[in-house]
C-alpha cells in the first residue's frame, strides 16, 4: 500500500477515535462549563493543526514522490510564507493560552455569598468543617490537633466554638449554593478533586489554599485525591452528596458542633473517645 494512504488512514482513525471514544469526560455538575469549553477549544486548535500538518504531509508524499528525471527545487526561504506561518502559530498559541487566563481569574475570584468549607486532608483521608451560626470558621493550628480537638481549632477563638465538624469523608452540599473550598493538609500534599465539578487544587501543609464552585445538579459524587501522597493515595477517596435546600438543612441540623464535642468528651470516659476516634481513623 502507498505510504500516503496509510498516513491518511491514521489521520482518519485519530479523528474517528476522538469522536467515538468510550473514555470521554463525565457529565458536568457545577458552574465550570468554561473549563470544558477551554479544553474543547484546545482540541479544536490542536486537532486542526494536527490534521492540517498531516494532510500536507500526505499531499507531499503523493506529489513529490521520487521520479528519476525530476530534480528538487532550490527554495531556501519565502518571506511571505514564513510570515504567514509565524502569525498563524502566534494566533494559535494565543487561542490556547488566553481563555485559560480568563477562567483562572474567575476561579480565584470567589463570590461573596459562598459558603466556606474547611477541607482537612491527612494520610489518607478527609474531614470537613463548616461555619456555625455566626457564619465564620474559627482559626486553627496544626499544633493544636489532638483527640479532643481534631481540627486544631484555637480554643481562644470565639468563632471556632460553634463550627460544625464532620469527622467523616462524606460531606453534603446545598444545590446551587456556591462554596469556597479552603484546603489544608496536616502532613503531605493532597488534592480535593471531584471530576464532575471540574475543579481541584493542591492542599499544601503549612498554607491554606482555596477555590470555589457552585454545584448545580443533585446527586452523589466521588472525591478523589489528585496529588500523589504516598502508599495509601489510591484509597484516599470520599463522597459528596449534593442535596436540595430542605434535605440539606435537615442533615446540617444533625451534625455535631465543636461545643457539642467538648461537652461530650467531658462526660465520656476517655477510653471510649479514643476508641471512637480510632474506629474513625481505621475506616479507610
Amino acid at each position: 500500500m502507498h505510504p500516503g494512504i496509510i498516513f491518511f488512514l491514521v489521520i482518519l482513525g485519530s479523528i474517528l477515535f476522538h469522536i467515538f471514544t468510550p473514555w470521554y469526560w463525565t457529565d458536568i455538575a457545577s458552574n465550570w462549563g468554561g473549563m470544558d469549553d477551554t479544553i474543547t477549544l484546545t482540541f479544536w486548535v490542536g486537532g486542526g493543526v494536527f490534521v492540517a500538518v498531516c494532510l500536507f504531509m500526505v499531499y507531499c508524499v503523493f506529489k513529490f514522490s521520487y521520479k528519476e528525471d525530476r530534480k528538487a527545487e532550490y527554495k531556501p526561504e519565502d518571506k511571505r510564507l514564513e510570515k504567514i506561518l509565524t502569525w498563524a502559530t502566534t494566533l494559535g498559541v494565543i487561542a490556547l493560552l488566553a481563555p485559560g487566563l480568563i477562567i483562572w481569574n474567575q476561579y480565584v475570584t470567589v463570590p461573596k455569598n459562598a459558603l466556606e468549607i474547611d477541607v482537612m486532608a491527612w494520610q489518607w483521608g478527609w474531614q470537613y468543617r463548616l461555619p456555625g451560626k455566626d457564619g465564620k470558621l474559627g482559626t486553627t493550628q496544626v499544633i493544636n490537633i489532638n483527640d479532643e480537638n481534631p481540627f486544631g481549632i484555637n480554643l481562644d477563638d470565639p468563632y471556632g466554638k460553634d463550627d460544625v465538624m464532620i469527622q467523616s469523608d462524606a460531606i453534603n452540599l446545598k444545590n446551587n449554593r456556591p462554596v469556597k473550598i479552603l484546603l489544608r493538609s496536616v502532613d503531605v500534599l493532597h488534592n480535593w478533586y471531584v471530576p464532575q465539578f471540574r475543579a481541584k487544587m493542591d492542599a499544601v501543609p503549612g498554607v491554606v489554599t482555596f477555590y470555589w464552585f457552585e454545584p448545580n445538579k443533585t446527586g452523589e459524587y466521588e472525591v478523589l485525591c489528585a496529588e500523589y501522597c504516598g502508599v495509601g493515595h489510591y484509597a484516599m477517596r470520599g463522597t459528596v452528596l449534593v442535596q436540595d435546600e430542605q434535605e440539606y438543612e435537615t442533615w446540617l441540623g444533625e451534625q455535631e458542633t465543636f461545643l457539642d464535642l467538648i461537652a461530650k468528651q467531658q462526660n465520656l470516659v476517655i477510653g471510649d473517645t479514643k476508641l471512637a476516634k480510632n474506629n474513625n481513623l481505621n475506616k479507610e
Binding site: D78, V188, L189, C229, V231
Partner: protein, 347 residues
C-alpha cells in the same frame, strides 16, 4: 554544490549579515580561506583502557554515553511493561504491591526523562556529532569530557543500586514532592530517596562538565567558514538545549542538596509543621512550594532540553532524505532560540 551557492549569492550575503560579530569580515562571502592552523596534537589512546574505557575522544565518549543511556532506558522500558501488566491484569503478578507500583512509576519517570533522554541526546548525540558537524578536531576540554561521562556512569550506578537497598528505590513520584518524599508513608523514604538525590546531584555535576564542553566547542572551535548561521540545525538544537540545561539543572542540584539536608540533618527547607500518626514531627517553618519552584525551574526547560535536539535531528534528517535544503533555515534557527527563551517564561 558549488553551482547552487553561485545561484544564491544574495541569500548567502543576507545570512552572513545577521551573524554580527562572528561573521568573517572578508567582503567576498563565498570565498573561504583554507585553514592555516598548525597540526594539533590529538588524543590517541594506545591501550584498551585508554581507548575504550577512560577515553578522551569525543566520539568514543559519545558512544559510551549512548550505550549507558540505552541501558538505563531498557531498565525504564521493563518497568513500564510491569506497570502495564498491573494495569491490564490487576494483581496478576504477586509482587506488584502498591509500594512496588509507585516505585516503578517513579523510577521509570526519572530514568526516561533524565538518565535516558537527556543523556542520549546531549551526552550521546552531542559528543558524537558536535565536533564532526562544526568541524572541530575534538571537544575543547577532552579530559573534562571524560570525567563528565564517568560522573554520569557513577550516577547511573548509584541509581541502580537503589533497587537493591532495604526499602527499595524511592516511590515518591518523579517530581519528588516533599514532604511526602522523605516521610515514612512513601515507599523507599529511607535509603532509596537518599540514593536518588545523590545520583541526581552527580548527574548534574557530570552534565555541567559536558555542557560547558558543548557550548565552548560550538562557540570557539568551529572550523573556518562554519559560521553560526551555517551550522546544521542538529547543532543548533543541541546548543540551545545545552544553554537551557546549564541554566536549569543547578536548580535541581540545589533542591536535591536541600532535601538531603532535610532528610539527614532534619533541617526544614521544605518541611512545614507536620502531624503524622497523631505525632507532631520536629520539622517546622519550611515551604513545600519552594521545592516546587526549584523543581519546575528545572522541569519545564527539561522538556525542551530533550525536545530541541530531537527537533534539530528531525529537520536535518528530512532535509537530507528529501534531497532538499531546509526551508526557512534562518527562521528555524530563531524558532529554536525562541523556544528556548519562551521556555524560561513558561516556568
Amino acid at each position: 554544490m558549488s553551482d547552487e551557492y553561485d545561484n544564491n549569492k544574495t541569500y548567502q550575503a543576507q545570512s552572513s549579515e545577521t551573524m554580527g560579530g562572528s561573521a568573517p569580515t572578508s567582503p567576498d562571502m563565498d570565498y573561504v580561506r583554507p585553514a592555516e592552523i598548525p597540526d594539533q596534537e590529538l588524543y590517541h589512546g594506545h591501550s584498551f583502557i585508554t581507548k575504550w574505557v577512560f577515553c578522551q575522544d569525543a566520539k568514543v565518549i559519545g558512544v559510551q554515553y549512548f550505550l549507558t543511556a540505552v541501558f538505563t532506558g531498557i531498565v525504564g522500558l521493563i518497568l513500564s511493561w510491569l506497570m502495564r501488566l498491573q494495569l491490564g491484569f490487576p494483581g496478576a503478578a504477586g509482587f506488584m504491591t502498591a509500594e512496588h507500583y509507585y516505585q516503578f512509576v517513579t523510577m521509570h519517570g526519572m530514568i526516561m526523562v533524565v538518565y535516558f533522554l537527556t543523556a542520549l541526546f546531549l551526552g550521546g548525540f552531542g559528543n558524537y556529532l558536535i565536533p564532526l558537524m562544526v568541524g572541530a578536531r575534538d571537544m575543547v576540554f577532552p579530559y573534562v569530557n571524560m570525567i563528565s561521562f564517568w560522573m554520569f556512569f557513577i550516577a547511573v550506578a548509584v541509581l541502580m543500586a537503589s533497587f537493591f537497598v532495604p526499602g527499595g528505590p524511592t516511590g515518591a513520584g518523579w517530581t519528588l514532592y516533599p514532604p511526602q518524599t522523605i516521610l515514612p508513608g512513601t515507599p523507599g523514604a529511607g535509603m532509596g530517596i537518599l540514593l536518588m538525590l545523590v545520583s541526581l546531584s552527580l548527574f548534574v555535576i557530570g552534565f555541567t562538565m559536558g555542557g560547558l564542553n558543548y557550548l565552548i566547542t560550538i562557540l570557539q572551535a568551529r572550523t573556518r567558514g562554519m559560521t553560526l548561521m551555517r551550522m546544521p540545525l542538529t547543532v543548533w538544537g543541541i546548543f540551545t538545549a545545552t544553554v537551557l540545561a546549564m541554566l536549569a539543572f543547578p536548580a535541581l542540584l540545589v533542591s536535591a542538596i536541600m532535601m538531603t539536608l532535610d532528610k539527614i540533618l532534619g533541617t526544614s527547607f521544605f518541611m512545614p509543621t507536620i502531624l503524622q500518626a497523631g505525632e507532631v514531627l520536629e520539622y517546622g517553618g519550611g515551604s513545600p512550594i519552594l521545592f516546587q519552584h526549584l523543581f519546575w525551574f528545572f522541569g519545564h526547560p527539561e522538556v525542551y532540553i530533550v525536545a530541541l535536539p530531537a527537533f534539530g535531528i528531525v529537520s536535518d534528517l528530512i532535509s537530507v532524505h528529501s534531497r532538499k535544503n531546509i526551508f526557512g533555515y534562518r527562521m528555524m534557527v530563531w524558532a529554536i532560540v525562541g523556544i528556548g527563551a519562551l521556555e524560561f517564561l513558561e516556568y
